[in-house]
Amino acid sequence: MQINPSENAAVAASGRGVALKVSDLVKRYGEREVLKGVSLDIAPGEFVAIVGRSGCGKSTLLRLVAGLESHQAGSIHYDGAQQDSHHDTRIMFQDSRLLPWKRVVDNVALGLTPPEYLNAEYVLGQVGLRDRRHDWPARLSGGQRQRVALARALVHQPRLLLLDEPLGALDALTRIEMHGLIENLWHENGFTALLVTHDVGEAIALADRVVLIDEGRITLDLRIDLPRPRQRGDARFAALEERVLKRVLGQQHDIGDPHDEQLGDQSLRRSVEQVRWAV
C-alpha cells in the first residue's frame, strides 16, 4: 500500500489522534531517578518511536503515559487536559497478555459491551485472523498472538496507541510483516502512536520521529522524512539508521555502571543483528 506524504498530512488533520504533551516528567523508584525531566510534544496522528538501551527509562515513560504508574513531578496533557479520561488510550505489551481461558474473539471483545461484540470479528479480519476466532490463544503462534493483542487494542478505536516493544519477542520475518500491518492500521485509523523499541531499524521503518532516551533524558529527536512504505535497503534509510546507532554507541562511554554497560551492549548487538537480517 502506497502512502504518500499528502495523505499522511490528511490523516494528521483528521483529528482522530490525541495531541500528547509531556512536560518535565520525573519518575523515581525509591532513590533511583529513572526519568530526569523528559519533555515531548506529539502532534495528533503522529507516529513517534522511542529508542534507547535497556533500562534507559523508555518503557517507564510509556507506562506513565498509559496511566499505569504515577510520576513525581512534571505533567502529561492529553489534548490539553491533565487527565486523559483514559478511555482514548490503549496499550500493547511486549507479551501479548491474552487471557488463556478466553477464545480469540472473546479476548478481542474484552471490555466491550454486547452491542459492540460484532466489531471484534471485524477487527480480527483486519489483522487477518478472522478464521482463528474460535481458537484458544495457546494454539496460536507468537506472531498471531501479538496480532490478536493488536486487534484487542484497536477494537476500542483508541486515539492514542502505546506500543511497548510489542515485536521484541518475534522472529525477524514476522516482525517485518507486523511492521506493514501496524503501518496500514495506523494510516487507516489515524490514531497517535507511541512506539517503544530497542530496534533502531524498526523505529526508522515506522516512525515520523525517532526519539532517543539515555539515562532518563531525551538526547536526540530526529524527524524521519522518508516516503512510505520505507525500503530497508534504501541508502537514506541506512544512513539514518547509521546515525542513530552511532548516537547510541557514542553514549556508551558515559556509563559508569558496568552492569548497565553490559545490558546496553547486548541490546545494541541485537539490533545490529536484526538490521543485518532485514536488509
Binding site: 499505569l68 505489551f93 487471557l99 488463556p100 481461558w101 478466553k102 471490555g111 484458544w136 495457546a138
Partner: protein, 259 residues
C-alpha cells in the same frame, strides 16, 4: 511396537493390577489358604452384594451416605470457597482471618469427635459437621492460593482496558484461580469419604458405615468387605467427576485438554 500406547493399552492397563490381585485372592480362597472368617472369596462378596442390592438395603445405605457426604461438601466447600475468595482478594480480610484459620487448620477434625458428640449428639448434624470441617480447608487454602497467584500482568492489562469490579473478577481473577480451586476440590473429595466413614462407624442407624459395623456384630465379613468396596468405588467415582470438571473448565489449557 510404536511408542504411542494403543487405545486398549491405555484403557485396560490401569485395571491389570486390580484384576491380578483379585484372581490371586480368589484362587487362594478356593485352595483353602484363607479362612472365610478372615477374608471371604471375591465371589462370596459379590453374592452378598447382590443379595443386599436385591433387598434394597444397599441402595438405601448408599443414598444416605451420599446425601451426608454431599451436604457436608456443599456446606464446608462453599464456606471454604467464599472465605478463600475473601482473604485472597482483600488484604484486610486476610490479616483479620488467616491466623485464626491456620490455627484451626492444625486441629485434626477427628480429634473433635468427643466435642462433636457433646454438641450435636449422634444424629445427622454431627456427621455433616465433621465432613464440612474436613473439606473446608483444602478448598479454602487452594482458593486463596489460586487468587493470589493470578498473573498480575493480566490484571494490569484488563484494568487498562476498562475491565473493573465484578467483570474483572468474572473474566480474569476467577478463571485464573480455577485450576488451583479444582485441586482443592479433589483433595476435599478424598477427605470427604474418610471423615464420613469414621463418623458413620462411631454412631449411626443407617449409611454404609452403619451397615459394616452392624455386619461386624454378626461376623459377616463378606458384608464388611462389600461396604469397604463401596467406599472405594464411590471415592473413585468422585475423582472421575472432579477430573471431568477439570477437563471441561480447563480445556483452554493444553495440559488439561482431552487427548
Amino acid at each position: 511396537m510404536s511408542n504411542r500406547p494403543s487405545f486398549f493399552a491405555r484403557q485396560l492397563l490401569p485395571w491389570a493390577v486390580p484384576v491380578l490381585l483379585i484372581t490371586i485372592w480368589q484362587l487362594s480362597a478356593q485352595l483353602g489358604w484363607l479362612s472365610s472368617r478372615v477374608l471371604p472369596e471375591p465371589w462370596a462378596i459379590l453374592k452378598s452384594g447382590w443379595v443386599l442390592l436385591k433387598s434394597g438395603e444397599l441402595h438405601h445405605h448408599v443414598l444416605v451416605s451420599t446425601r451426608r457426604a454431599l451436604t457436608g461438601l456443599a456446606i464446608g466447600g462453599g464456606a471454604g470457597l467464599l472465605l478463600g475468595l475473601l482473604t485472597g482478594t482483600f488484604k484486610r480480610a486476610e490479616t483479620l482471618l488467616d491466623t485464626t484459620l491456620q490455627m484451626i487448620r492444625n486441629v485434626p477434625p477427628l480429634a473433635l469427635i468427643p466435642l462433636v458428640i457433646l454438641w450435636f449428639g449422634i444424629d445427622e448434624a454431627a456427621k455433616v459437621f465433621l465432613v464440612s470441617l474436613g473439606v473446608f480447608f483444602p478448598i479454602y487454602l487452594n482458593t486463596y492460593h489460586g487468587i493470589r497467584s493470578v498473573d498480575p500482568a493480566l490484571i494490569e492489562m484488563a484494568k487498562s482496558y476498562g475491565v473493573t469490579g465484578w467483570r474483572l473478577y468474572r473474566d480474569v481473577i476467577l478463571p485464573g484461580a480455577l485450576a488451583s480451586i479444582l485441586v482443592g476440590l479433589r483433595f476435599s473429595l478424598g477427605l470427604m469419604w474418610v471423615l464420613l466413614i469414621v463418623s458413620e462407624t462411631i454412631s449411626a442407624t443407617e449409611g454404609i458405615g452403619y451397615m459394616t459395623m452392624n455386619a461386624r456384630e454378626f461376623l459377616r465379613t463378606d458384608v464388611v468387605l462389600v461396604g469397604i468396596l463401596l467406599y472405594a468405588l464411590l471415592g473413585k467415582l468422585a475423582d472421575v467427576i472432579a477430573r471431568a470438571l477439570e477437563r471441561f473448565w480447563l480445556r483452554w489449557n493444553p495440559n488439561y485438554a482431552a487427548a
